[in-house]
Symmetry: C2
Subunit: 240 residues, 2 copies
Amino acid sequence: MTMSSKNPKAPEVSRRRARNSLSHEEILEAALKMTEADGLAQLSMPALARNLGCAVMSIYKYFRNKDALLDALAHRVMRDLHRRLPPAGDGDWDVELVAYFTAYRDLMEDTPAYREVVLYASTSVVRAALTPAQWRRLDTGIGLLHRAGLPLSDAVRVYNVCYNFTRAYVAYEHTVRAAASNRPDTEGAAEDPLDGAEYPLLAALPDPTAAIDINEDGFRLSLELLTAGISRTFGIPLTA
Amino acid sequence: MTMSSKNPKAPEVSRRRARNSLSHEEILEAALKMTEADGLAQLSMPALARNLGCAVMSIYKYFRNKDALLDALAHRVMRDLHRRLPPAGDGDWDVELVAYFTAYRDLMEDTPAYREVVLYASTSVVRAALTPAQWRRLDTGIGLLHRAGLPLSDAVRVYNVCYNFTRAYVAYEHTVRAAASNRPDTEGAAEDPLDGAEYPLLAALPDPTAAIDINEDGFRLSLELLTAGISRTFGIPLTA
DNA sequence: ACCTGAACACCGTTCAAGT
DNA sequence: ACCTGAACACCGTTCAAGT
């Protein structure tokens, strides 16, 4: 009864895509949009093709397989990410250090799609060709510690620690949160009170599970402790 | 021509499983074995059924769906894990703290299947009913910091930081390593030397990518810095 | 009650064919 | 050259049927 079904020979909005209308870029853009909207888990080749209005196999002319597509997506996302991420400033080392890594987490919080993509393709992102913006940020981050008084080799080791801590924490936060939202929450189910004889300390706490929660407070305290640890271990004063 | 195909009416090794031969326990055991052998990614319902010598749908009599099975698997693994994980000792707080969290990482290194399972079902594991062994270890871990001089509420916050750091670090290490082993390594591809004018510090390094590597050294240094940070922030002396 | 095969709606991917 | 449909080997899961 619809217009398009009345006569199969009718124009029917031209199902077939024009000759060179598809491109590497358009496919990636669509994939990114879909990831932002519904998450990486929903990004399938058929769904992507539907979204592009092309046949599934057309995508394979531009990407060897799905993995290659995800790799390209990860690179694109990392490039965007570092464009929005400032290099280290030249204020007090401890203040700047906290700001430097907090900025990374904040940006990831802003754009959940980034977290998934970055988390997924860890390798291609961590190991493969870094963009100039990433090298720059890396260089200034190490410089921060070097200026504060650490020998270069120690500055690299300490930067490494802070960097991996931040990446790991954000990734872990994300997986925990994602998993939590997929389940019937046990919020209502009243927990059994803990036996004070068995667990003297936990039993005294208002919420024992707080000890293993993961949230922003923990991230902040971690950075504070790391900073204090750097100060103490390398004998450079804190300013804050 | 084979014996079994000659006569379809022959005994044929009795394809059908005996009446009550299947069980919750046997299924979980098989799933764990398969995960140890080939990784969680290879654990499909058909593969599991083949392994058990039963029909795929038989499994569904014991587990509502695959997610429920993975949940049960995660709980089983966490229970095993904490059985092998000692509570905190009563030596010097800083030495014990490092040993306490290093033990977790070491155990995860030992049994890669554990990492995958624990990593996967973050929620059910982190939030849902903890076993007595886990509560015990938690209680002694917090006690470690409390005995060292931290008020109980701070001891919980600091424990939380160390715990989440360790979990996150191990999980992140695992995903990076797993992803790396799935790809053509770029080891051979000689990296372009970095421009000394653009990246003065990185250019001076023998291997700039070391700044973002992840390995055991980073883990150890992280724990050292955290310990030093706790000492400095809460004014309790280091003994090591 | 417990176990099962057939069937469904999805994947990613190969292959041979359209234009 | 670029785009496409049909087909294949896999998933997880529902349903109705065997024993």
